[in-house]
């Protein structure tokens, strides 16, 4: 990497860390540290909410998703605007009216302490795991760039984030995120322009999009109802809406962002802003991945995008086999490139079905060769007792950035990825610490200490959660795709949490005991379904877990409550 890129990277990271420390200098009480000054305007809330959700993973994984599977992942966000509107109507007014610190405080008011504690615990569990993946994602970059092991880079990034978060506090997190989102959006826009500029002279953007479509990559909306299909419009609108209702309505890392608003109006506008811009933003990031895919139709794409893995294979006895696959791939890519040029020359962007069939057949051949390279990595793992990740979709975008973007822009994009990761993790650790202190430590364990004690404990819990997240991050490479891993972990827990809140808001007759048991049973059912799917006994896309978890908890709560009430009535009659 050029020295100028290093300069840009370290300047931006240094400025962000410095800004965090500067913002934290006046913090002397727990409320300010955990909740900020409650003076944010709607655009800061909107950008902060978007920045919390869009971490480094968004940058690394999403373009890779588009490269490997096309644009279908855009559907994942279709439920988000609907969820924003529902939250603005029903949830925000209640949180503001009760002036809660965390979302779970409301549950004690509505049900009882055990339900509040259980829900806070479920949140801590899933967010603690997700925070691990958020730390792991940017460490991939350093690993690829410097040739260090993934473990070393994970620990390095994790410690940097923990240090920044402990000194930061909620106010600094929100303020920093606003600036970072602006840098992120402009960085991605510039990257897109550079990729389009790098297409061959005789291939227009329209030609490239048309070819991508004929290769099956522009499959944005899928109307086929299929429970095992990860992304279609039905799982998105039903499962996705439930996921986002739960994420934005009950996940403290998001609730904390919009509760820092100056007023209910500012918070509502912030969420609607997110609802309007999130889907186009994700579509654009996927489109960048699509353009990277098209770029590699005209330029040789590596057989495996993780160069660290490639180096190890090439130094082993498997090198001749790997090089043989490389030359096979080059031959297929050359044929594909010629076929694309011929088709465009013949019909412009009106690609014929016959040409499309040729593209698809060559693409299938390419996939087969890539699969063989993955099998080779697995063989290497077995022979050498290593754990190299055969999946490389998360490396697609970053390897393109490193190799093809001009000096200066490489540093800028890396800084964007680092700062996005840091701010998201900061937000998560901040929320984890808040919930640990407010909902568990201060509420149930140590109730009568001074504010200075709780401030100290808030910082200590931030460090503790950082260490837990870091430990989980060390095992994150087991997942095929990072952004999916975060969403899968969320989907396992969000349904039940949302079910608890749905009952709290809409079924006033249901009491604490019924919802507590329903939440435990509901979570057990969701985990069972997830395990059955993993064992391939059933086939169920993970987005459905959100809806199933929520519906099951609501139904069981109603059932148990009716049972409880009829038993109570019976007792009353017997007594009379």
């Amino acid at each position: 990497m050029h020295i100028f890129d290093w300069f840009i990277l370290f300047s931006i990271i240094g400025l962000i860390v410095g800004y965090g420390i500067y913002k934290a200098r006046g913090i002397t009480d727990t409320r300010s540290y955990l909740q900020g000054e409650k003076n944010l305007k709607w655009w800061t809330i909107g950008l902060s909410v978007m920045a919390t959700q869009a971490s480094a993973i968004t940058f690394l994984s999403t373009p890779g998703q588009a490269y490997a599977e096309g644009m279908g992942f855009a559907q994942f966000y279709f439920g988000l605007p609907i969820a924003m509107v529902i939250l603005c109507i029903f949830v925000l007014p209640i949180f503001y009216k009760l002036n809660v610190f965390t979302a779970y405080e409301y549950l004690e008011d509505r049900f009882d302490l055990k339900t509040r504690t259980l829900t806070a615990f479920l949140f801590l569990l899933q967010r603690g795991l997700a925070a691990g993946i958020t730390i792991f994602a940017p460490s991939i970059i350093l690993s690829t760039m410097l040739g260090w092991s993934l473990g070393t880079t994970t620990i390095l990034i994790g410690l940097l984030v923990i240090a920044y978060t402990v000194t930061g506090g909620s106010e600094a997190v929100s303020q920093t995120q606003k600036q970072q989102m602006i840098v992120i959006l402009s960085g991605m826009f510039v990257a897109l322009l550079v990729i389009i500029f790098k297409l061959p002279e005789n291939v227009s953007l329209s030609d490239a999009v048309s070819v991508a479509g004929k290769m099956g990559k522009l499959n944005v909306v899928d109307f086929e109802f299929n429970l095992s299909n990860k992304y279609n419009i039905w799982s998105a609108l039903l499962g996705g809406t439930f996921l986002f209702l739960s994420y934005f309505g009950t996940d403290q890392s998001q609730v904390q962002r919009y509760l820092s608003g100056k007023s209910l109006t500012e918070s509502r506008l912030g969420l609607l802003f997110n609802g309007l811009f999130k889907v186009p933003m994700q579509f654009s990031i996927l489109f960048v991945g699509l353009m990277v895919f098209m770029f590699y139709q005209f330029n040789p794409a590596p057989l495996h995008f993780n160069q660290s893995n490639v180096q190890q294979i090439k130094q082993s006895t498997l090198a001749p086999q790997y090089e043989n696959l490389e030359s096979q791939l080059l031959s297929v890519q050359t044929n594909k490139k010629t076929a694309i040029f011929n088709a465009i020359e013949k019909n412009g962007n009106n690609i014929s079905d016959a040409d499309a069939a040729v593209f698809k057949s060559l693409l299938t051949k390419e996939s087969e060769i890539r699969q063989q390279s993955k099998d080779l990595i697995k063989t290497y793992n077995t022979t050498n007792q290593t754990n190299l990740d055969a999946e490389d979709t998360d490396y697609v975008f970053i390897s393109f950035v490193m190799k093809y973007l001009p000096v200066g822009l490489v540093g800028l994009l890396l800084a964007v990825i680092f700062s996005a990761a840091m701010s998201t993790t900061a937000s998560e650790l901040n929320a984890l610490a808040t919930t640990s202190v407010i909902d568990i430590y201060k509420r149930s364990l140590v109730t009568d200490k001074t504010d200075a004690h709780y401030l100290k404990m808030s910082k200590l819990f931030t460090v503790l959660w950082g260490v837990i997240a870091l430990t989980f991050a060390m095992g994150a490479s087991l997942f095929d795709n990072l952004i999916e891993a975060v969403n899968i972990v969320g989907s396992v827990f969000y349904g039940a949490i949302l079910g608890i809140f749905v009952v709290a808001f809409f079924f006033k007759k249901v009491k604490g005991n019924a919802i507590f048991l329903a939440a435990l049973l509901g979570e057990a059912i969701v985990i069972s379904l997830f395990v059955l799917d993993k064992m391939e006994i059933i086939s169920l896309a993970y987005l459905w877990l959100n809806m199933i978890g929520c519906v099951v908890v609501v139904l069981i709560a109603l059932l148990l409550n009716n049972f409880d009430m009829s038993a109570a009535n019976k007792n009353n009659q017997t007594t009379t």
Binding site: A74, F78, P81, I82, M84, V85, C88, I89, F90, P93, I94, K97, D109, R110, V209, S210, A212, G213, K214, G216, L218, N219, V220, V221, D222, F223, I233, R268, L272, G275, L276, V279, P280, F283, F505, K508, K511
Partner: protein, 40 residues
């Protein structure tokens, strides 16, 4: 005793904004559907 939560107030000014968000979203999904159909 269980605390009663007040019913959400009627949002006369807000409902238009909510509808705008939903209608724009439906428009966006329609555009995506047309893109899918046109380029498949």
């Amino acid at each position: 005793m269980e605390n009663d939560i007040e019913k959400p107030p009627v949002f006369k000014n807000w409902s238009t904004l909510y509808w705008i968000v939903i209608i724009l979203h439906i428009g966006l999904i329609t555009v995506f559907t047309l893109i899918t159909k046109a380029y498949s």
